[in-house]
Structure formats: C-alpha cells, structure tokens
C-alpha cells in the first residue's frame, strides 16, 4: 500500500498548512481565501477518510509507529467533522484571518496523529501538535487581559502534563524495553508508575477531578469557538487515546486502574455538577459542565465485558451528542459572550428572543440529561453497560450525582423565562 495514499487525510492537512504561509508571503488580501482553503482541506480530508473507511484500509506504517484502520479513520472523521460547526459560531475576531484556520488545521493534524499513533513516540508528537496551536488560539480571546491569563495558565499546565507524559513513557520504556502501544505488562514498579503517570497526564488534559481547576480559568478567557474546540475536539481525542491504550493493552486493566478511574470519574461528576450550582459566568458554567460530562465518558473505559468496538461506538456517539448539545447552547448565544460573560445576561432572554432561548433550553435540557433529549439516551447506555458489568453501585452513584446537575441547568433555563433565584 502506498504510504502517501494511506496518509492522504494527514497529507491534505499538511498541504493546506504549507499553503497558508504562502498566502501571507504573496500578500493575497482576499478575505474568502483562508476560509476556502480551510473548507477544502477539511472537506477533502473528510472525503478521503470516508473512502478509506469504505475500502476498509488497514495498514501499519513506519515500523508500527503509525496505524491506519477503518475504526481509526471513523474516529478521525468525527474529529474533523467536529471542527466544522465553529464556522457557525459567530464572533467578530478572526473572520477572514488566515492564522486562525492555520492553527485549527495544525490542531486537527495533531489529533489525527494521536489517533493513528502506534507507539508512544507518535503519541507524544501528536500530543504536542495538539497542544501548541491552542496557545495562540486561546490568546486571541475576546478580552485581551483575561485571554492572556488563560493562555499562560494553559501553556503551563500543558507543559507540565507533557513532561509527566514523557516521564511516564520513559519509565515504561525502561521497564519493558518497548515503545509500541502493545506493551507487555510487567510487575515492575517503574512500569506501573509509568502507566500511572500516563493515565494521570491524560486526565489532566481531560480536566478530570482533582486535576480540573485549570479548565474553568482557561475557558473563561477563550472565545466561544475555542471553548467548543477545547470541550469537544480536544477532549474527544484524549478519550479516544485512552480507549486505544486500554484496548491495545489488555493487561493494563489488571492493575488497580479501574479503581482509580472510577473514583476520579465519580469525583468529576460530583464536583462538576456541584460547582455548576454557584457559577455566575457562562463560560465557567460550560467548563464545569464539561468536567462532569468527561466523568461519564471515562466511566465507560472500565467496562470490560464488551468488545472494544462497542466502547468506541459509545464514545463516538457520546461526543457526537455532546457536541450537538454544546452547539445548541452556544449557537443561540451568538455575540452575547463577546461583550460580557455573566449568567445574569441570560435573564429574561426569552422576552428578547424566544426562538434562541428555546434552542438554548433544549441544549441545557440535553446536557442535564432530561428525556427525550439525546443527552439522556447516551447516559442511559453508559449506565446500562456499567450495570451489565456489575458496577451497579457505581452506576447508582453516577445517577445520583447527575441528579445534582438538574438544579443548575434548570436554574439557567428557568432564568431565561422568569429570572434567577435570589440567594
């Protein structure tokens, strides 16, 4: 199989990435050009990914460092697709600006490398490619002071977790002498410690409790498109990477990781939902909501008695639904977030714009997991698999924790129609 063909989606992105500096060099002032290039690159990548999936293309490249398989192509399809809605999220900054699309494509390239990685080295390269473009993207937030604070916080946290990740890889390599993801488990203490570091560094990126406090601060400075990317595209990539590690290393689960994952996931659901209650800022609200939602999806990683494909499908569906719910919340807000970021802005929103407030209500109800909105059905599926795997108590606790979330979501939703509750 031709290497170029197997890497075609990535190559298209690289091509576009090379094209963007040319626009700057040639001083092409056309406003539509960057957008067109971005659209062409993403749609081209989507088309190629679909064709690869259709052909059931399955190859291993670069001595096992890079994998291409139908499942992975489908995941990449979702990630690429999840970038597109940001074109609908309107804010004044960045329109027609080539750097913006350049950084987005670079980010997408990073997440594709991560998904396709066959070894820890590629994984690390992908993680770096995913993280670095986000720094300037966050930096260009609506309020300069806040966004620079956010960006600095983000880069510090990110470099820390990258270092931890690298240390984890080093330990694993030291213990097993291997770099590929199909590591043989060993009882070596260093090996275990390496695995733990790997897991925790990815959890930092996912903002799982207790590694979450950076995320509301970072979200606060972003514009709502980056907020969407941070909570959907980036987090989906990390969850799929976790899934990949767990799926490839069957013995990984023999260690007490399950206990760690369950504890931290339940803690994030609880902390995320409890913190939602007292939020006054819209972006921090979505940050905590995202923390709680990552708690649900990481719970699915401990389910062992179903095939790994099933778990991938659940993660896939979860992020599809989560991104739809987030979009239902973010799209109606429109330019509201550009000027100020107070939940009190949403009071009497219904009187100002009834259609937009209805869609926002649907989004919030879906995030809260109220039937018949899609957020409810996917939670049911996760809980069902947990109970099927004899984690009945975990599922019940997760349910009760999601109950806490009902209050804040209803509060924000009700606030649009009849004002907020006075404390």
């Amino acid at each position: 199989m031709n290497i170029f063909y197997a890497l075609l989606p990535e190559n298209i992105l690289v091509l576009a990435l090379l094209l963007f500096p040319m626009i700057e060099v040639l001083k092409l002032k056309s406003k539509a050009l960057p957008l067109t290039a971005f659209l062409l690159a993403t749609v081209g990548a989507l088309a190629v990914l679909a064709i690869h999936y259709q052909q059931a293309l399955e190859v291993t490249l670069f001595y096992g460092h890079y994998q291409v398989s139908p499942n992975l192509q489908a995941i990449k399809f979702l990630l690429t697709f999840s970038l597109l809605p940001i074109l609908l999220l309107r804010e004044q900054i960045f329109i027609g600006h080539y750097k913006y699309y350049f950084l987005l494509l670079a980010l997408l390239y990073g997440s594709m490398v991560m998904i396709s990685s066959g070894s820890f080295i590629t994984l690390f390269v992908g993680l770096a490619l995913l993280s670095i473009p986000l720094f300037p993207l966050i930096l260009n937030g609506p309020i300069q002071k806040e966004s620079s604070e956010s960006a600095i916080k983000y880069i510090i946290i990110d470099s820390t977790l990258t270092a931890l990740f690298l240390l984890g890889i080093a330990f694993i390599y030291f213990a097993s002498g291997k770099m590929d993801l199909t590591i043989i488990s060993s009882d070596n203490v260093l090996y275990r410690f390496g695995c733990l570091l790997l897991l925790l560094s990815l959890f930092i990126k996912l903002a799982i409790v207790p590694f979450h406090p950076w995320s509301p601060d970072v979200y606060e400075g972003c514009d709502n498109r980056i907020l969407y990317i941070l909570s959907v595209t980036v987090k989906a990539t990390i969850v799929f990477v976790l899934w990949k590690i767990f799926a490839n290393t069957a013995n990984f689960l023999n260690y007490p990781w399950q206990a760690i994952i369950i504890t931290l996931s339940i803690a994030s659901i609880l902390v995320g939902n409890l913190s939602l209650i007292k939020q006054t800022s819209i972006k921090r609200f979505f940050a905590y909501s995202s923390i709680a939602h990552m708690g649900y999806i990481t719970l699915i990683l401990v389910v062992t008695n179903v095939s790994i494909e099933t778990i991938a499908i659940i993660i896939f569906a979860y992020f599809a639904i989560y991104s739809i719910s987030m979009l239902l919340c973010l799209l109606p807000l429109g330019n509201l977030l550009a000027s100020a970021d107070q939940l009190s802005l949403l009071e009497q929103f219904h009187q100002r714009s009834s259609t937009r407030s209805s869609f926002l209500s649907f989004g919030l109800l879906s995030l809260a997991g109220i039937p018949p909105f899609p957020g409810f059905w996917i939670k049911i599926v996760i809980m069902g698999y947990l109970i099927k795997c004899d984690y009945t108590l975990v599922a019940v606790i997760a349910f009760l924790a999601s109950y806490i979330g009902i209050y804040p979501y209803f509060k924000v939703m009700g606030g649009q129609f009849f004002g907020a509750i006075k404390h």
Partner: protein, 496 residues
Amino acid sequence: MFKFTLGLSLFLPLILLLLPSQKERVVAWVNMGIQLLLLALFFTMLTNSELCEFSFTLSESLGLHYHLLIDEFNKYLILLTALIFPLVTYASIDFIKTEKKLFHLMLALSYLLIVQTFLAQNLLFFYAFWECSIVPMFFIIGIWGGGNRLLATYKFVLFTALGSILMLAAILFLVVANYKISGVFTFELQPLLRLQETLPLSAQRWAFLAFAFAFMIKIPVPPFHTWLPYAHVEAPAPGSMLLAAILLKMGAYGFIKFVLFLFPAVVEEWRLPLMAIFVLGALYGSALAFVQNDIKKIVAYSSIGHMGILMLGLVTPSESAISGAMLSMLGHGLTSAALFYSIGLLYERLHTRDLFHFGELATTMPRFSLLFFLITLSAMAVPPTLGFASEFFIFLGAISYSLKMVITSNHYLFIAVSGAAMLTILLGTLYSLRLVKYLLWGKKSEASLLRAGVRDLNLGECSVFTVLLLFIFVLGIYPQFIIESFKLAIKGLSIS
C-alpha cells in the same frame, strides 16, 4: 382511530406553535377545540372497547419498543385527563394574563406527555415521559406563578427528579437482571413481570424501594410531600388544577401498574408498614389541612389526606379496596380540580386567599356558594357523591381484610391501622366544614364588607362546575360499572 388520536395529541403543540402569537383567543379556542375532539375520540374508543394498541420497534436487541396500550388501569385515567384538560384550558382563558400562547403550548405539551405516560408499556418510555412531564409544569409554575414561585419550581423539580432518577436506576437494574436470568434484553413490562418469580427477594426489595420512593414523592406521601403545598400555592389556578387532578394520579397509577405487579412479594411482606405509612400520611395531611389559613393550602393538604387513603386502598389485598382506590383517583381528580378552580375564581375576584378575609359569600355569590358546597360534599365523602363511593369501597376492603387477619392469625395491628384511617373522614369533615363556614357564612369581616358588589359566576364558569359535578354525582350514584371493570383487571394480582 387510536393512531389518529395519538397523532392528534402529538401534533397539538405543533399546531399551536404555528398559530400567530398575537391572536391569543384563537390559540386558546383551537387548543380547547382539539382537546374536546380528543375527548370525544377517546370516549368513543373506550366505549367501543376495542383493543387499542400501538407498537413500533425501535431496537430489537435493546428491547426498545414504542409500545402503547389502553388497558383497564389507564382507561379511566385517560378519560379523566381528556375531561380535565379542556376545563383547565377554559379556566386559563380568564386566569392567565401574560404569554398566553406559551401557556397553551405548555398545556398541550403536558397533555401529550401525560397521555403517553399513562399509555406507555415500555419501562424506558414510561420513564422518559414521566421525567419529561416535569418540564411543562416547571414552566407553568415558574412563568405564571405567584410571588414565591422560584422556590416552588425548584422544590417541585428537585423532589420529582430525585424520585425518578432512583426509579431509572431500578429500571436498569431490573432489565439487566432479567438479561442475566433469561438472556433477553428488554424494557417491555410484560416479560419483566416474570422477574417476581426468578429475582431473589433481597434484590426485589431494593428495586421496590426505588420505585416506591419515586411514586411516593409524586403522590405525595409524607414525609416526601413538602414540595406539594409550595407548588400548589404558587401555581396559577389552571396549573393547580392540573397538578392535583392528574399529575398526582400519575404516582398512584405508577404504583399499581409497576410496584404492585412487579413486586407482589415485597408488598405482601411489607403490607403492614406500608399501610401504616399511608394512613399516618393521610392523618398528617388532614390534620394540617385543618390548621391552615390559606385556602389553597387547605385544599393542598387535603389532597395529601385523600391520596393517603387512596394508597391504603391500593396496598390492601382486596378487590373492593383496590377498585375503590381506582375510583378514588377519578373522585379526587374531579373534586380537587373543582376546588382549585373555585379558589382561582375567588382569587380572581377578591385577590386574597386568606380564609378570614372572606365571609358571607352565600349572600354575595349565591350560585358560587351552592356549587362550592356541593363540591365540598364530595370532599367530605358524603353520599351520594363519588367521594363517598370511593372511600366506602376502600374502607370496606380494608376493614374486612383486617378483620380476616384478626380471625385467621390473631393479628390486631391491621385493624388498628384501618380504624385509624377512618379518622381521616372525621378530619376531612372538620376541615371542609371549617372552609365552608368561613368562606360562605363566616362573620362578615371589615374587609369582606368592601366586597359586597362582587360578581357572581357567569354561565361559562357555572358550566365548568356543572360538568365536574355531573360526573361526581352520576359516578357516585352508580359506580358499579367502573368497579366491575376493575375487578376483572385486578384478577392478575394474586389477591387472597
């Protein structure tokens, strides 16, 4: 015809959504017209006693069927819903002043959700509609409610959602347990009924607790009742009518349809404590109703009392008690709707709900007084009203069962509980007479003198009462055909 009726109720919110929001009258009359049409459709369907079933398979492997069925248990509740809703809609034309279109939309939505909840035979769909029916009520109380409405809405949502989330956990547990035992993954109620033989009793107890908790919050049974007075006091009059007449019945319906059928062994085991809880709750509610000064709270607490007696009937293993309880659902639905409607009328005219601000309404509003008195007779369980008929059957069943327990196993606690339950009739008479006395005849207070020129009921308002009273008296005099149809239905329950 069943499909058409369901489709019409499904499209009712959409039809209303498409109407222009400036033409509020049109929206109201279209809403009411379609609801009356639905009433007629449901009525003809149920009198023809054809099999009304609809099933659509969503996922065979997950056992998800969108399965709706009219059976003996939801038949009369559907009719009650179809009857009460046009009245609520009519009441809202006068009582709701702002955002009228949105209100009618919410009414249509809750119509749809309540009917689907009653009809659903698939546990997941039952849960989904049950949980979703919170949302319109949340808006009804929140947007059109009184001064303290925010607390009321959040109390309502949080209490109800807590119960339903536990119920959802129990549903999943049952489904997975069934999968492990029989290898079939299904959310359908019918196959899950077999679990009562296969599931160990300890597991059944937990599932029972989760289900019963959800329904006891909705009914409500003290100590889970605290949301109800708030919700009733703050809700607008149509909202209160809806809440008391239909939403509370959803809890009782769920109890009979799911708890009694899924866990008969646990009910059998815990019969005495259950009866005691319900009777204590009824006594507590009735006693509190006696000391309230807000007339809406009196009726709200009396609801707790009546629902407690209803639940006593449901857990008593006797045909007459269970059919009495089913009759009581209709009786309480009609009576409380009428009571909340009259309170709404009074508040509309006098802008107060304090019991001592009224007085001598018998002279200023004679038509209202007569109708209100007749309604109170039903609340007091005086023959020949439906209130009497239903409670008579409940007590008949409860006392005869208790006596049987005394004779067969020398068990005196049952008779004590049933005897205590009789006290609620006394308390009910006391608070109802107090209400009537201060409202209709009480000493003319200084405040009430100012209101000498208050307007009596007009034809439309009278006709709402007339419809409700007609059913209360007709069914009170001749409850036999409903009792008979229930007796056939509860053959499935193993009643000694």
